[in-house]
Assembly symmetry: C2
């Protein structure tokens, strides 16, 4: 073994030791899943990757994504040995430590939270795409487990990376044969893994993942790959290095016991005194990217009829022209979401992600870590496909990305329930820290796009299919957690709260109620999360009750947001979709589902 | 062309005509996506498939799954020509017609709703698996679009089908080159499609999808395939048969205009007078499956400490032994969800779905259409991965399947937020018609498993990781929409509502409040959806306010369910997770997140 490899071998053993010790101390964790990948990670951190341990930004440097997040102790150990972090590894999984059980950006070297398997490659691909856009030389390495490549999302990412010829991306699959509850689908059939990667357009090689010389050659080949991402299928043993763990079932997610068991395991690893420097950064700095404040200028006539999804596209195109940091991605719906207007304005910053919403969101998350503000668009219904990715993006705080779901609700009409999105508000409101915006006209749609581009975290914008009358003047402003009271008087008896298409129904209900002698306040709840509790409480105090109406199921949507914010301070009648709808005309469906002006009037009369 | 092919060709043209006419009449729909697949469907319905047009159950017959759901008009046309339905095709997409824009089981020939792309193959694979289990001879055919195979879920289904050697399954990919907003990823590169199928373990062949002779041979080969599912990559032209539509961009989801345009299109199709019989059923009836009423018998000691996830496994094993119609599926977490106890009891009815939750749910849905009651288990967090599938399963009413999410909430502790599931109650409550159950002890866990097996539709059971004290006697009964009042008196001042682990905190809070002179009612809200509004309203009337507490985010969970049910009839203080948590000890996290007994006491004191 060459000297260098001997030292690297000792480092790999040292990483194994750290993983055994930190998980034993924590009393939980996945040491054996770390041990299979220790040689790969030692080779990456101390031979292959170029980075500055003092600069976690990753600029002008290679970056690493640990898709098999349960191997977090291995990442912490490598960062510690690289002098990139100085936390005590023995604090693993403790509340007072950023060294969590699965990686989160509480450690700044972690760009995206992992631990829900099969997500890292999408993020890595998004980073690789953004780096090529920025002509940044740094490469992106992603380590996956063999269990997790059963996730379809991995193949969405794989096809995306090859389609866009991301040869700055290298994936390593740690084929250790054993999953959580038994052997993986393909066991040690590395040929199956390699064939799958090749069929998805990758260059790929199979190696012994514990052979440092083979690892070195594989990484060299990966660097030389032109026009294709490179996959390394690494045959490994789970628990490698300790006889009673190695390739054994029943040791997933199980630390060895402190004391004798740990001592025996560590003794088997041999010397672990080595200390190694990391390779310095070697890329020339790319041109610093220009950034500018997101700003739109709506240009509509009062009373004009424009769909909010179309106004979204118009605003997005404006950001394309004025904000170089904004990028857009869509799942083969760009002509419906109107994100194609961004593509027309800035084709190089638009990505067609095809019909693969998980990867679309994951790649957008990756782009966001390269100082981009990604706008990801598809039908609102199809963001349900990416819910796990959205959840993990939220846990990747401070990641900032904007999701726009169009065609929300029964008001899409004839296409039927599969295309309707009657769950998206509930789903997005449940994402901790996420912002949920819901424009009702073209002006607010544009302004909310601007607001979304300025608001950190995960921001969801819900747009509608039908044309809607312009309600606001072009210079109207909209704030996070705000609302607009469109109709009010000193003698309001009831409050009507809507957003999107139902706001127009609420306004119509107001006009029906007025001649009946019932004064109704009408509130546009464009900021669904955070919600304008103050205005709602005032309305609760000043009227006899509140009617909420939404083109969405009643559970988890606007009605419950209002009821929850009021906490019992007012009667709330919630109108929303309660039964599975069907194909039909928009107006017909809204009526049958009880969210038309007629139903609002009836509900208001029940309250006054 | 042989006579038979000439007649089939005319039938294909007739189907095209129906699609052009019905979408023109509806004024919306996807005729060109139908036309590319018309020859495939004509060959399937009038030559290859064996079925009885009078019996939509599919028993002893071949079944067809239209994964590319936007080609619904083609399915309706084929069913009509086969005399399986007699609805007027001109009612397509009308509110008064079951001929929806995308297939739903309102037409009983549709087993699973499609229209969210990339889901049909999982359902088809689940059916194929169940048919093999039942030794039923009928084959399963699934038609996919080339755009939709970009969905990773398709590859989850593909690997599942080959891993389980489902040679009774045949998939046809309609490679018409054009997606919604432009060309697909691989265009007419059929080799890429075939290579991908082969790499995922399928037998596959590429043909001209408009050549009826090639189709016949391909289907023969598919029938002869032993040990592998068979894929037919059919090169087609979108809009085939009409010169101004054929292979043209800009015609996705767009009908031709009634009048001249439609007349010109129909004229190009030539004669369409043909009438063809379908092939009779040819399979011998399998042995009728035994079914029995789901029943469990909890056997616990008062005060015993058992995790609800473990009790779930115990009950599931009991169903394995007593109910032949129950099957179980898990995503490589069977040793954590305890579904492995089902596997031990009935290995032939257990399926390991590996780490691919979308396919797990989709396959379970398919199994449910074969008279099975599938129980699908994984960590609650990972059901977010399958949300689109769950949504579509709900739209596949009357499908009955049970999902069990374990390890819910911050009480899992050290693994961190990626494994916690703080969104699952919101997500599942938002599924129209779904039932959401949340046991707090071993007895209720077992009883709710029984209830789930008896309740039609989508049923979600949320289990917890930590051990919990047994609260109920073994003969306690639990009803849909019920609750249990565990502490109450005539002088109750406040009501505490919990479920799962927080119910135990509420009980502890009760005991802290009592000596402070505050009598608290404690309600176990085990049926989160439907919710026991009556008991809640009584509590609202009889106490000064309600404290809800849940190991879940506050948005869309138990708090809002209660606030919504009360509609303002009582003050509600909602305790739940409001900030992104981190690794730590369960008790530590519950305290920090404000869902421990201490926080409940404080909230109760604010209300009295």
């Amino acid at each position: 073994m060459p000297v260098e490899d001997a030292a690297l071998f000792e480092m790999a053993q040292k990483l194994r030791r750290h993983c055994l010790e930190s998980t034993a101390e924590a009393g939980s964790g996945h040491p054996t899943s770390c041990m299979s990948a220790a040689d790969v990670v030692a080779a990456l951190f101390f031979q292959e990757m170029r980075f500055d341990p003092g600069d976690p930004s990753g600029k002008d440097a290679d970056v690493f994504v640990l898709s098999k997040g349960h191997a977090a102790p291995l990442l912490w150990a490598a960062l510690k040995e690289a002098r990139a972090i100085d936390h005590d590894l023995a604090t693993l999984r403790r509340f007072d430590s950023p060294l969590e059980g699965h990686p989160t950006p509480r450690v700044p070297w972690v760009r995206v939270a992992t631990g829900s398997l099969g997500q890292g490659l999408s993020a890595a691909a998004g980073m690789a795409w953004a780096r090529r856009l920025d002509k940044s030389g740094g490469r992106v390495y992603c380590l996956l487990g063999d269990g997790e490549v059963a996730e379809g999302a991995v193949w969405e990412a794989a096809q995306f990376a090859s389609f866009y010829r991301l040869d700055n991306l290298c994936a390593i699959v740690d084929v250790n044969r054993l999953g959580q509850s038994g052997p993986t689908m393909y066991g040690h059939d590395t040929g199956a893994h390699e064939a799958r990667l090749r069929a998805f357009g990758w260059e790929a090689v199979t190696i012994d993942g514990h052979d440092l010389a083979q690892l070195r050659v594989a990484f060299e080949r990966a660097r030389a790959s032109a026009g294709r991402p490179f996959g390394i299928v690494a045959r490994t043993l789970k628990g490698k290095g300790v006889s009673f763990l190695e390739d054994k079932e029943g040791w997933h997610g199980k630390p060895v016991k402190k004391g004798d068991e740990l001592a025996r395991a560590v003794a088997e690893l041999g010397p672990t005194a080595v200390d190694l420097p990391v390779q310095p950064r070697r890329y020339s700095s790319p041109t610093p990217q220009r950034r500018s404040e997101p700003r739109v200028q709506p240009r509509y006539e009062p009373g004009q009829e424009v769909a909010t999804r179309e106004a979204y596209g118009t605003a997005l195109a404006e950001l394309a022209r004025s904000c170089p940091q904004v990028v857009a991605i869509d799942g083969d719906t760009k002509n419906s979401t109107f994100s194609e207007r961004f593509k027309d304005a800035a084709p190089e910053r638009f990505v067609e992600a095809y019909i693969a919403e998980q990867n679309m969101v994951g790649a957008a998350l990756g782009m966001s870590t390269e100082d981009k503000i990604p706008f990801a668009s598809t039908f609102a219904a199809f963001f349900t496909r990416a819910y796990d990715f959205i959840r993990m993006a939220a846990y990747s705080r401070p990641a900032h990305l904007v999701l726009c779901g169009s065609h929300a609700g029964v008001s899409i009409g004839e296409d039927g329930p599969s295309q309707m999105a009657l769950e998206d508000l509930a789903m997005m409101r449940a994402v901790l820290g996420a912002t949920v915006l819901y424009p009702s006209d073209a002006v607010s749609a544009e302004r909310l796009v601007e607001l979304a581009a300025r608001t950190p975290g995960i921001v969801y914008i819900r747009t509608s299919r039908p044309k809607a009358r312009v309600l606001y003047a072009n210079d109207e402003t909209f704030a996070l957690g705000g609302s607009k009271t469109l109709r009010s008087s000193a003698r309001d008896q009831v409050t009507l709260v809507g957003a999107g298409i139902t706001l127009h129904e609420a306004l119509a209900a107001h006009d029906i109620l007025a001649p009946q002698g019932i004064a109704a306040r009408v509130i546009d709840l464009y900021s669904v999360e955070p919600v304008d509790a103050e205005t709602l409480r005032r309305a609760a105090a000043e009227t006899r009750g509140i009617v909420t109406v939404e083109d969405h199921g009643v559970n988890g949507g606007i009605g419950e947001a209002v009821a929850g914010a009021l906490g019992g301070r007012a009667r709330v009648e919630m109108l929303g979709v309660r039964e599975i709808p069907r194909s039909g005309k928009p107006a017909e469906l809204m009526k049958v589902c009880g969210i038309s002006a007629e139903s609002i009037v009836a509900a208001a009369r029940r309250l006054v």
